[in-house]
Symmetry: C2
Subunit: 245 residues, 2 copies
DNA sequence: TGTACATTCTTGTATATACAAGTTTGTTGA
DNA sequence: TCAACAAACTTGTATATACAAGAATGTACA
């Protein structure tokens, strides 16, 4: 019962055993041997192959999952994750078009679509008086079923009165707005943030995960049209920007 | 030997036991009960308090460490991490000043300071011919000893011939360059990336961790001065930007 | 034919144990 | 006084085991 406890510590070349398993899996993926969606050997199989316990093999798989390299599913197995999608420019582009350009299927989830009253912050951003009516929408955009953008948007009802009646499952807010109110100016702020609970659950990521957050205020000739907050999970999306001072 | 295996699964309220421990620790931190640098109870202590095994308590601490909430140190203990520093604007500001403004101590590590020949990409960016001499520097900037920026920079030697002789432990490259060659224009590109091995080890983070990467080309009246790549660990730094189209 | 059940995979949670290794603190002895 | 050592903590790695729970597949029975 306590016989072959060869176990522990730095055995041959100093690195822990689970690291060797991780390195092996990474190598297979990077060499192309194991493509995206490839089914990785099970915990038991790896344990046997590397002559370690299941818990050690499990650690390798778990850490690679945390790092976004693998995807695990109880009862099914462990699979190679798709590489992070290559970025789009930080211009006023449509997220649905970006997804389509990658040959992926676009979909969204409308979490909120309502009329509320403007807070101080929102009123200032939209050039309205505090307490006046504004449209408020929260939509999650998905790439092949995976959330890639959390969009919270406040829209000026005097400029776009029919906003709430739109069918955003076919045309995104951005697409609709640029059609009915051509843009003349865009104010953008970019920051890296850790996801809060709301964003985390919407994007199906751990709270605290680093995300790219973009505040965008779009203006047309008639005034400020819309004020949006776009949050991208850092490990599922890349975004490039060209800015000049 | 196999007596009180009450163990496993969803017992009372469906969530796993380690999650309850995580929630408890988070609550203590968020209530201010456990401030930054506070020493969290040890694995054994938590195991006893929550009546779980050490490995389960350990899991809670490990996950919170991965999430940037705690910092662990072998032999010392587990401590509450500092909250993510509030962001600075995405303008041409000095990282040393930003750190000082937070009341933290600034330091840096010079990983490379050399003269090389320009690759195609670098030559185009600096407006030089391929193969001509350029200065190349890699510096890691630290906030209270913690790496917050990886700076890789190519500098035009015809405009700033004394670059390599500078003492960058007292004045950062950015600080020095803006002094000797006043900026007239700045080209910036922002993206969220996963850290590669080089950046990861320099910033002391796991490869794959989401980071904010900024490409910056600074110009003076005489031409393009410098071409820099700045990488910030997403969970240790926030960065705001104001951009206009 | 088709539904219900058992089997057999998979991953997920949890425990108990063993030892390695880093850090601090106290104690012993030259 | 102070250096060396031992003890008592800490976290880190690794194993063996047990059972829960999800998913697929086969099988038996109505």
């Amino acid at each position: 019962m306590s016989s072959q406890f060869s176990t522990t510590g730095a055995e041959n070349g100093s690195q822990p055993r689970y690291a060797a398993i991780k390195a092996h899996i990474r190598a297979q993926i990077e060499s192309g041997e194991w493509p995206a969606h490839f089914r990785v050997p099970s915990e038991n199989q790896l344990a046997q192959d590397f002559n370690v316990s299941r818990m050690t093999a499990r650690r390798a798989l778990s850490e690679l999952t945390d790092e976004g390299v693998l995807i695990r599913s109880q009862g099914l197995g462990t699979f190679v994750a798709e590489p992070v999608p290559a970025g789009s420019l930080l211009e006023v582009r449509n997220i649905a078009d970006e997804v389509a350009a990658r040959g992926h299927s676009y979909s969204n989830r409308i979490l909120k679509l309502e009329q509320t009253t403007a807070s101080t912050e929102v009123a200032v951003a939209l050039g309205l008086t505090e307490g006046s009516a504004v449209f408020h929408s929260i939509i999650v955009h998905l790439d092949n079923g995976l959330p890639i953008q959390f969009e919270e948007r406040y829209t000026n009802p005097t400029l776009v009165p029919e906003y709430l009646q739109q069918d955003f499952s076919t045309a995104t807010p951005n697409e609709y707005l640029t059609r009915v109110a051509p843009l003349t100016e865009v104010d953008t702020t970019v920051e890296a943030i850790g996801a809060d609970d709301t964003v985390g659950s919407a994007l199906e990521i751990q709270p605290g995960t680093a995300c790219l957050q973009i505040w965008r205020r779009t203006k047309s000739s008639a005034g400020t049209v819309s004020f949006a907050r776009l949050v991208h999970p850092g490990n599922r999306y890349r975004l490039g920007a060209q800015l000049r001072f």
